[in-house]
């Protein structure tokens, strides 16, 4: 109100600018959240509510989606259902109200476990390999260093799926098709180039003097690496791990192509949950909602590092 007479900083944004920028960010956040919120709402709808038109925002919540996600059911005659004892738990009673009985567990849990093993396994492997080679590139006089680094980067220059057919044939020959190991190796090889480049930047920022000091203090280079470099690279390692994990966790195309019965991950499994007479949308939505949880948990656990890690080069004092 007294802007004409109040001295204000030239570099600091004014209150109006700040408010405007803030509302833009909030607006953008809301827009990006809508599909997510819709999926979560759908997970708690009944199949009829899920496909009703116009779409229902207010509805009576139901756990049928989750029940259908975790179970397989079979249709029975009402006489048969009446001949059974009292329903076994919530899902059974929901199924019986639709003239069905729970026949057994679905494949969702094993697929989810596959996803966990493959995504975390490949992340650990990619970050471990990436950290070691980034350290090597950062600290040693590697012959053809620049060419090697460019080669590593060049593996990212085409969409990975472009080599799907050769990989499919290769995997079939060596027996890696539809194995967790095969998927871990595949995702690791895609992620490791990203990891090397990201981590090299972070490790370059850590002054060499730290390791040199440790080596003079009597430690070997490897001990110095573990005790001095790694603790200071945690920010970079956390950021890299999240990038790698998100890729491996969400990857769909290779998972469809290379896995079926044994090592199938959740992404190809979720969309093929078939209900009676069409897609079982609440079950799909429930599967998706649960699928988000590990990434959210992992990101929240590492958020302190992530925020500094994404604004690169924040390691220096």
């Amino acid at each position: 109100m007294t802007s004409a007479t109040t001295a204000h900083s030239v570099v600091e944004p004014s209150a109006t600018t700040r408010r405007f920028a803030g509302s833009l960010v909030v607006l953008y956040a809301i827009i990006t959240m809508i599909p997510l919120v819709w999926i979560m709402l759908t997970a708690f709808k009944s199949p009829d509510d899920a496909i009703s038109y116009p779409p229902k925002v207010m509805f009576k919540p139901s756990l049928e989606g989750f029940c259908n996600l975790f179970t397989t059911r079979s249709r029975q005659t009402p006489e048969f259902i009446r001949s059974l004892g009292p329903p076994q738990g919530l899902c059974d009673s929901i199924a019986r109200s639709r003239n069905m009985v729970v026949a057994g567990p679905s494949n969702y849990v094993p697929r989810f476990v596959n996803s966990l093993i493959i995504a975390f396994g490949s992340t650990v492997l990619a970050v471990a390999l990436g950290t070691l080679s980034a350290y090597g590139f950062s600290r040693f006089r590697v012959p053809l260093k620049d060419d090697l680094l460019f080669f590593i980067l060049s593996t990212r220059m085409m969409p990975p799926i472009a080599v799907a057919i050769p990989i499919y044939l290769m995997y079939r020959t060596v027996g890696l098709s539809d194995t967790r190991l095969g998927m871990i190796l595949l995702y690791t090889s895609v992620n490791v180039s990203l990891a090397v480049w990201l981590l090299k930047g972070f490790i370059d920022e850590i002054p060499r003097e730290y390791e040199e000091a440790a080596m003079i203090d009597g430690y070997t280079r490897f001990q110095a690496f573990v005790k001095v470099v790694l603790p200071q690279a945690t920010t970079g390692i956390a950021a890299t791990a999240i990038f790698c994990l998100i890729f491996a966790w969400n990857e769909y195309a290779f998972a469809v192509l290379l896995t079926s019965g044994n090592a199938q991950t959740a992404p190809p499994f979720i969309p093929i949950i078939i209900g009676e007479g069409g897609q079982d949308w609440p079950a799909v939505a429930a599967g998706t909602t649960l699928f988000l949880v590990p990434i959210v948990v992992f990101t929240v656990l590492l958020r302190k590092h992530l925020l500094r890690g994404i604004t690169f080069g924040a390691v220096r004092k």
């Binding site: 003097e209 040199e212 440790a214 080596m215 430690y219 070997t220 001990q223 603790p231 200071q232």
Partner: protein, 365 residues
């Protein structure tokens, strides 16, 4: 503590020859400064002593034992870095105790020695602080603590005061020297600051372009520079260098500078007619009307008790130190004279000082 003996040490990085056949000895308990401009190879030399670089040729002996190719961790040497290299993820206590942990010393003994080192450096009250919040001088002390806690054979320091402000630096110069005397440690100290070197060192090794130009006491370095580079590098302002052409007989007591004879310390070697350089410190230039060099006052720099008078002469600008009580007018014509027993003569081609009576006997009074 230990003696460090460097023999014909050479280091090349690809085509860049960083250190050329450096040789010197640091005796038990001596404080040696490696002094030179940036890029002269002093830090590389220090890093080779520390074991962080391996020499291309030459040997390094610690107490007679050849350690040239030993790993840094196997040398029992402590190094203080310019930027201190304190581990930011550890507090002061753990930083100082870090070298002991490596030796597998138990927690109780470790803590006792950390506290002892902290006492010596007067940082006991900081032990549980994080290193990131410390002031420059305290960081320096923590870095020193990490060095002394292990009681190593010798200390190496790579411009440890470079990152401190002037005031802190003055204080740390005295503190470092006192610490050195108290521990009786052998110390090699790298600096580009001649004042630091002069103030602290028992001996100074002046390096330039990878070559050790002179190893001597601060007084000898100043009064009897072994080469043109040392003469020009040491002293503020540096030695005046007057080029002339002439030859010298052994025993000659004067040189011919322009039209006049200039008395010099008696020559102890003969020199054929060639390009020579006469070196004279500003404080050895006297103003006298009968002076052998005449010139015009160009300007004065007031330094408190003395002043530096720049005089333009036939031989270029000469700087003279004069008591500040005397006043000079710019443009005034003055006569200059040199104190004969302090003059140095250099061979211009090789840069080497020619031996004269100046190099004999002990320190000049």
């Amino acid at each position: 503590m230990a003696q460090i003996k460097i023999e014909a040490l050479d280091k090349s990085f690809g085509s860049f020859h960083a250190v050329k056949s450096a040789s010197f000895t640091v005796e038990h308990g001596q404080f040696l400064c490696l002094l030179g401009p940036s890029g002269c190879g002093k830090t590389t030399t220090l890093r080779m002593i520390a074991g962080l670089e391996l020499p291309t040729a030459g040997t390094i002996r610690l107490d007679g034992e050849d350690v040239t190719m030993n790993r840094a961790s196997a040398r029992d040497i402590a190094l203080v870095f310019q930027l201190f290299a304190l581990y930011p993820h550890m507090n002061v206590r753990r930083n100082i105790g870090f070298p002991l942990k490596c030796e597998g010393i138990g927690a109780a003994e470790r803590d006792r020695r950390v506290v002892e080192a902290a006492c010596i450096l007067r940082i006991s009250h900081l032990l549980d602080r994080s290193v990131s919040g410390l002031a420059g001088g305290d960081r320096q002390r923590v870095a020193l603590g990490r060095a002394i806690v292990r009681k190593p054979k010798c200390f190496l320091m790579d411009e440890p005061l470079g990152a401190l402000d002037t005031e802190m630096r003055e204080a740390m110069i005295h503190e470092l020297r006192a610490l050195h005397d108290r521990l009786g440690a052998t110390t090699v100290y790298v600096t580009h600051d001649q004042l630091e070197a002069m103030a602290m060192a028992d001996r100074i090794a002046v390096m330039n372009n990878g070559v050790v130009e002179q190893v001597a006491s601060p007084r000898d370095i100043y009064d009897r520079p072994a080469s043109l580079f040392v003469a020009d590098f040491i002293g503020s302002p540096p030695m005046n260098l007057l080029p002339f052409r002439g030859g010298l007989q052994t025993g000659a007591q004067a040189i011919r500078l322009g039209e006049r004879d200039v008395a010099i310390p008696a020559a102890r070697e003969a020199m054929a007619e060639s390009e020579l350089v006469l070196g004279v410190r500003p404080e050895h230039v006297r103003f006298t009307d009968r002076g052998m060099v005449r010139g015009e006052v160009y300007g004065t720099e007031y330094l408190g008790t003395t002043q530096i008078v720049t005089v333009t002469t036939h031989y270029g600008a000469l700087k003279a130190r004069s008591p500040s009580s005397r006043s000079f007018r710019t443009g005034e014509t003055v006569g200059l004279d040199f104190r004969p027993d302090t003059l140095s003569i250099f061979d211009k081609a090789s840069g080497r000082a020619i031996r004269t009576a100046l190099h004999e006997g002990g320190a000049r009074g």
